[in-house]
Symmetry: C2
Subunit: 222 residues, 2 copies
Amino acid sequence: MVSAKASRVDDAYARLKADILHARIPPGHVATEPEIALRMGMSRTPIRETLIRLEAEGLVELIPRRGARILPISASAMREIYDILTSLEPDAAARVALARHSAETLQPLHDATSDMEAALERGDLDAWAEADERFHRQLMALTGNRRLQQIVAQLNDQAHRARIITVRLREPPVRSTVEHRAILDALLAGDGPLTRTLFREHRERAAQELLAILENLRLTQL
Amino acid sequence: MVSAKASRVDDAYARLKADILHARIPPGHVATEPEIALRMGMSRTPIRETLIRLEAEGLVELIPRRGARILPISASAMREIYDILTSLEPDAAARVALARHSAETLQPLHDATSDMEAALERGDLDAWAEADERFHRQLMALTGNRRLQQIVAQLNDQAHRARIITVRLREPPVRSTVEHRAILDALLAGDGPLTRTLFREHRERAAQELLAILENLRLTQL
DNA sequence: AAATAATTTAATGCATGCATTGACAAACGC
DNA sequence: GCGTTTGTCAATGCATGCATTAAATTATTT
């Protein structure tokens, strides 16, 4: 056996988190510990620990005598998240560019970009979104900064549901895909400033589009 | 009574965190749950929950069968932290500048700066450090971005011990204090780009100095 | 009927018990 | 003497019990 034996907390954490991210539990939903424990077939203890972790990650809110509330998707939350990502990612990308990684090292980014292009042609938005997130994740991994990776991953998790919803309510992300290709080229060229600029514009546009949709839907809070 | 009744978890959390930040527990120290529970006069349960939270905050590492390890201070960790802060804070400061807050709103920053100057003249490094952290905290508060505030606060907590140590091992922070004044002026002038540039240089220099000292001391890991 | 009070219900916060399992040490074989 | 093996010990992971207390419900009063 390769993987370490999963503890119940590990299990509950993985399942609950997946349920939240895939919106299988509706945003805003409130559930009590005994309720979740029953559903997951374990006692309250591991559920409690799981909820504490999820709260620290910003996916759940623990309301004193009521239970755990799955955080809703709000435009204001998305604005906060995108403001932070717009600061972090372009800088990080610029550092990666300046590190002048080999083409092999950048291969995963290349793959992700190709996958985005292919998915877009097929009209497979789920695959597109997956490749998009993969690109961003791989790029952060190349910085070697663990804390940065964790923070960005956490923010992306928080924004995940909003992206799922909006990706189907907008024009096909042609532009976004093209931008990825341009960023990749800048990275390969080792052009830090260009990478930063492109990435920043990429994030700013994405934020604009997402927020426009959320606000149009009057999804101040979904 | 104004404050909510403190639960044991709240209490243990506050105490443990303070002990860690003030280095009353030496970095690298390992303690078991029963050990901490005994010292804090409560059962393992609230201690457990506290440790989970502290782990999520990056102050403690939970080692499977060994206990909780107070994370050591390493130069590499500080580099990670400062890289992130150097991305986040200057951008955030620029946004604050563009928001053109009134002088009253910026008063806390003014106070913090004055306090730094006064503390420096008195040679009171503790007071100086406190005012410095206050300046940065207040500035982030002005962005109104809760997530940003939380992330920056968390990173500052992680870096706190390193700052305490190094502040006494370097020349008096005259330069740093002057820079704060300049940043404040740029904020008052509503000059976003200038604020960003100044802040970035400020953080980069601070990072350089801190890392130089840590590495000189061969504190790869304290 | 609306507002208030009394009562019931149930979720949390915490303590405790116990099985499991890894860490450590002593005993053993080479 | 040093690497293995076995055995003991204790920390964790989890379940469970219970007091407390907020929320919900019902009863009561105006």
